[in-house]
Symmetry: C2
Subunit: 457 residues, 2 copies
């Protein structure tokens, strides 16, 4: 079907407000690496409209790319022709069930709105990540988002109790319930979580809620090495257990960049840094003292503890601005990896040596969620700072992934596969596994209209 015919047909399927006249900004991903094309961009206002879109596209074999807040980092929501199905209008908080600690929301609800709705019911929705002001729950589910609080609360996958999905043929599968125990046959929910829009369109979800923290303590600690940061992690967990909510690693170089960018002085001078946060859902007046005593007793004296909300915000701003501050350095080849925590130090040292041997002027910015072993590992080649750097991507990745896999790590921790990494999938999944994935996709999406070219190699 040609674009004009598609457009005309959709005027009979959707209301004018559901068809975007100028949506070209939605065709480029956040990192400005990919710009796609679409015959039509639609924003259905309810689940029935999503079903109507899918029924039509299924019948006419038109590709569909689901898109949430378009904050993805792997190009999974950039369309290559067909329909771009943006979920932004499907953004209701449907209901909260406090007794079950559950909230049911539309897929297009912005993460921050879900956090706020939970807070207004005296609960915590713990998923927290840099783009929370614009990313959407459906996208968070589709790529199994991670972020800052996985250490304590798990990743998005762990927070989904029930899902509502429109299948490629327009059929609805709905299991929106707040049940914490349910075992009725194969768990298809977990197939859709992390499937990056290749199996269906997530339209709603029931999510787990938790008690709100009543006490928050935030500290910035300078350490000499990653090994020392790991020792601190083990010691903090030994003392404060699940109260440790975040444990972020920042290299001296990353702090340098962010401090300049943020116009906030460095909390301490050091080769490596840790930003850690303890939370307690009961008022706990002595937690500041306990943390200060602990850091002193364990010999981590090059440290500051936030004594006010504004001091806390400064520390977090330094952490959160690392990504933005790197833009001044040009385009980098970014990695979203995780390795077992005991091996992070060795990995960082060995991988840097290998990269420096291959590219002697390479600069590496290392930071990330050490508490769960995941790292953002960004590599700059100073002689190519625009998108041409991607010509070197496979060569850099070959070295990085070899070291990741040697440590029993993963090449995709929390951003997904999309179109950045799908050709790498065979390095981490067996032929049998990929054949099974293809069979599952063929069963649900026989005409391969759902986000073709993404995730699967």
């Amino acid at each position: 079907m040609n674009p004009q015919a598609i457009k005309q047909a959709f005027q009979g399927i959707l209301s004018p407000a559901e068809i975007l006249e100028d949506g070209s900004a939605l065709l480029t991903d956040q990192r400005r690496r990919y710009t796609g094309s679409a015959d039509l961009i639609v924003q259905p206002a309810d689940v029935a409209a999503v079903q109507a879109v899918m029924r039509f596209c299924f019948e006419h074999r038109i590709p569909v790319t689901p898109q949430g807040g378009n904050t993805g980092l792997c190009g999974a929501a950039v369309p290559s022709g067909g329909i771009l199905l943006n979920l932004s209008k499907l953004n209701r908080i449907r209901h909260i069930e406090p007794a079950d600690n559950a909230i049911t929301v539309d897929a297009g609800a912005v993460l921050q709105c879900v956090q706020e709705a939970a807070a207004s019911a005296g609960r915590l929705f713990p998923l927290s990540l840099a783009s929370e002001g614009s990313c959407q729950i459906g996208g968070n589910i589709a790529c199994n988002a991670g972020g800052l609080n996985v250490l304590r609360y798990g990743a998005m996958r762990d927070l989904v109790l029930g899902l509502e999905v429109v299948l490629p043929n327009g059929e609805l599968i709905s299991h929106l319930h707040p049940l914490h125990k349910n075992t009725t046959g194969y768990d298809l929910r977990h197939l859709f979580i992390g499937s990056e829009g290749t199996l269906g369109v997530i339209t709603g979800a029931t999510l787990k809620l938790f008690a709100r923290p009543q006490t928050v303590e935030t500290a910035w600690v300078g350490v000499d090495s990653i090994k020392q940061a790991v020792a601190l992690l083990t010691a903090v967990q030994g003392k404060f257990a699940e109260r440790l909510t975040s444990f972020e690693l920042v290299s001296g170089y990353a702090l340098e960049l962010s401090s300049t960018f943020s116009r906030i002085g460095k909390p301490v001078e050091s080769a490596w840094h840790v930003l850690l946060e303890l939370t307690d859902s009961i008022q706990h007046e002595s937690l500041t003292d306990l943390l200060a005593e602990f850091l002193m007793a364990e010999g981590y004296e090059n440290a500051v503890i936030a004594h006010s909300e504004s001091e806390r915000n400064e520390l977090w701003t330094l952490r959160e601005n690392i990504s933005a501050s790197q833009r001044n350095l040009g385009t980098s080849i970014k990695h979203d990896i995780a390795v077992p925590i005991a091996q992070v130090a060795d990995f960082v040292e060995r991988c840097a040596q290998a990269l420096q041997t291959a590219f002697n002027d390479i600069r590496i910015v290392v930071f990330g969620h050490l508490g769960d072993g995941s790292l953002h590992y960004n590599t700059f080649l100073p002689h190519v700072l625009d998108n041409q750097v991607y010509e070197y991507e496979d060569k850099v990745n070959t070295i990085v992934y070899e070291h990741v896999l040697a440590c029993n790590g993963t090449i995709a921790a929390e951003h997904g596969i999309g179109q950045v990494k799908n050709h790498w999938l065979p390095s981490v999944r067996t032929e049998t596994e990929i054949a099974l994935m293809r069979a599952i996709k063929a069963q649900l999406d026989p005409h391969n209209i759902m986000n073709p070219g993404k995730l699967l190699p």
Copy 2:
């Protein structure tokens, strides 16, 4: 292939110690409801032997029923011909990674041994259920076991970081890693979890560990009604948040039975009872006082708090002996259901009315994990107390499930489907979902040799 030929062939595949000469006890399930048959019972001693078994059975189209501790409650591990593949010999604790809070074990490791191994490394493996002294991790994973601590730590599904599975054709899929973030394509791990041996043989798993509780407070509280129990649940969670680890409901009749059976006096007299436990991973001397003050302030004065480990054990014995104490009443039709917590009280009332209308002498024993909305709901027909009661099962279930589904609940909370409930699956999963399940099974198990007749209708 005839049994004699199978036996002869296996003498070339396994060692004599891996072939069970008299394993007839393994052919009957724990509840003595089903007795199956097998041409041969094998207990492979390592993963390679499991692969050899599967390769042979795949080639010769011989059905295989995997079996762990044989404590299942839905008949999923009772074979109907072919090979009974018992995992008991595959029982090593492989390794513990304290920094990642992870333990890797063989599938045949007994749950209690895993708990003990975690404890010896200063960690907690939180899955806890009545049969923990004999059930095995592989079975816990295959049926997504629940139990007493799901409220705080999640069900088995939530505790599995990585899986090792021998596929029906003998191929091994192994992702035994301690990573808390990993998103590399469709999550096949969650297909095997809860698949009850119908997709492959789980041989190993990497499991999440947690901080060990340093403080434990246990209370038994008499309440007038389920509504009051739910109000207590909400109040306790509001005050103590995630410290609430267990919250068990016991009917007055269930306590009566267990008290007599256990020769332990009732802690309090009441129509309904709650057994609740708070734990804290930090020493918290004032928790007893806080709990006592809280119960008093909220008006729950008909309560006792355990002041010693032996008092605590007595309270838990009363809870745990409910199942055993019912055996004196004869055979019952048991249900393993869950409904949203806010609806438990209405469900119990309405369902009892409907059952009493249909069977005027029916007796109902209600108890379970109110904290996560799951109930054991056992119904006795006094005029048929042996296995003949199962002739009434569909009629009783029709009434119970109608009420469960009207509340957006589940007909299978934590025991699975097996052969008890597979004909009910179409009442809770759509045709499309069941077709997808069949397609997944056909892709992995084209000759339908894996535990045929279980789970799928």
